[in-house]
C-alpha cells in the first residue's frame, strides 16, 4: 500500500538469518541499511547481544527435515512480519530467510537474498527456491553468477 510511497520515508527492514555462519554474514551487511529502521530476526536469543540497541526477535530453529518445526517457524515469522510490515526483507539464509522472502513478497516488500559464501559449488536449495521471489538475488562467488541470475557484487569477506 505504502511501499511506493515517498522515498524520504525511512524504510523498515527485516534482516533475518538462521544461526552460525548465516547470522555472522548478515551482521557484516549492516552498513547497507544504515539509516533505516531495522528489525533483526534469528534463531538464538543470545544473538541480541550482537546488535545492541537494535530491535531483535528470536524464532525457533528448524531444518528442512523438521516439518513441524518449519510450520511453527513460518507462523511465528508471519506474526512478526504482519507487525513489522517491512518495506525490505534481507536474508543470508537459510530456512527462516526462505519464509521471510516468500512472506515479504506477498506483503509487497522488496526482497534481497544473499546466498551464503559457504555455497561454493552451487546455489543453496533455499537460495534456488527464492529465485523468483527475490528483487535482488545474489551469490558471493563470481563463478556462480549468470546472465539469468544470480548476480555477484562481491562477498562478505
Amino acid at each position: 500500500m505504502s511501499k511506493d510511497g515517498p522515498t524520504k520515508q525511512i524504510p523498515r527492514i527485516l534482516a533475518i538469518a538462521s544461526g552460525g555462519g548465516h547470522w555472522v554474514q548478515l551482521l557484516r551487511l549492516r552498513p547497507a541499511w544504515k539509516g533505516a529502521r531495522v528489525t533483526y530476526v534469528s534463531v538464538r536469543k543470545a544473538y541480541a547481544s550482537d546488535v545492541p540497541g537494535e530491535r531483535f526477535m528470536a524464532i525457533n530453529d528448524a531444518t528442512r527435515w523438521d516439518k513441524v518445526g518449519l510450520i511453527k517457524m513460518a507462523f511465528r515469522l508471519a506474526w512478526i512480519m504482519v507487525r513489522v510490515r517491512p518495506n525490505v526483507v534481507v536474508s543470508t539464509g537459510a530456512a527462516p530467510g526462505y519464509f521471510a522472502i516468500r512472506l515479504g513478497k506477498i506483503l509487497g516488500a522488496r526482497t534481497i537474498w544473499l546466498d551464503s559464501i559457504a555455497n561454493v559449488e552451487e546455489i543453496s536449495m533455499t537460495g534456488t527456491l527464492v529465485k523468483d521471489h527475490a528483487t535482488l538475488w545474489l551469490t558471493q562467488w563470481p563463478h556462480l553468477a549468470a546472465a539469468e541470475g544470480p548476480q555477484c557484487h562481491g562477498s562478505v569477506l
Binding site: 548465516h22 551487511l29 522488496r110 559457504a118 528483487t135 545474489l138 548476480q151 557484487h153 569477506l157
Partner: protein
C-alpha cells in the same frame, strides 16, 4: 580468572558435534603433553580426556575464547572462519563430510578448498592431515585481520534496493 590461557581454541560450531576432529586433537594433545587446548565440542556423548572442553559457548564467551587464542582449529563453518579472520587469528579448518553424516553434504569440503586457495585458511582434509598440521602449528600465519563489514560493492548493491532512488546505478 584463574584458568590457564588457552593457546589453541578448537570449535565445532553451535549446531552439531564433530567428534572425528575433537578426538584427533585430544589424542594429539595427550601424545604431545599439550595442556593449552580449549575445545567447544557441541552436543555429543564423546568426552575428551586430555583437553579442557565445553559443549556450547554463548556469543560473548565464544568471542573471548577466540580473542585469547593464538590459533583457532575449527570445522569449515563460516561462523568460525569469519570470526578468526575478523580477529586476525590463524585458522586451521577440517571440513565435515556429508557421507559420514557430519553435515548434510560436502559443502564444507568445497568451502575449505576454495578459501585455502584464496589464502584465507589452512586446511586439513582429514584426521591424519590435522595431526600433521598440528605438529607444525607455528608455521600457521594469519593473513591480517579483515574489516568488520562486507565489500563496498556488495553493500552498495544491497543499499540500492533498501534505499531506491538514492543511487543512479541503473
Amino acid at each position: 580468572m584463574s584458568r590457564e590461557r588457552a593457546v589453541i581454541f578448537v570449535t565445532v560450531g553451535a549446531q552439531m558435534a564433530f567428534d572425528r576432529m575433537v578426538r584427533a586433537v585430544d589424542e594429539w594433545a595427550e601424545k604431545c603433553g599439550r595442556s593449552d587446548v580449549f575445545a567447544q565440542i557441541g552436543p555429543t556423548d564423546y568426552t575428551p580426556r586430555h583437553i579442557e572442553h565445553v559443549g556450547f559457548l554463548e556469543p560473548p564467551q565464544f568471542a573471548e575464547r577466540a580473542r585469547e587464542a593464538s590459533v583457532i582449529v575449527a570445522h569449515a563453518g563460516m561462523g568460525s572462519i569469519i570470526t578468526a579472520l575478523t580477529l586476525g587469528k590463524p585458522i586451521l579448518v577440517m571440513p565435515r563430510r556429508g557421507d559420514l553424516r557430519e553435515t548434510r553434504n560436502d559443502h564444507q569440503v568445497a568451502t575449505a578448498k576454495r578459501l585455502s586457495e584464496l589464502g584465507k585458511v589452512a586446511v586439513a582434509m582429514d584426521e591424519r592431515e590435522l595431526v600433521e598440521r598440528l605438529g607444525r602449528l607455528d608455521e600457521l600465519r594469519a593473513t591480517g585481520a579483515i574489516g568488520p563489514f562486507a565489500q563496498d560493492s556488495l553493500l552498495a548493491a544491497i543499499r540500492g534496493v533498501v534505499f531506491p532512488g538514492t543511487t543512479d546505478s541503473h
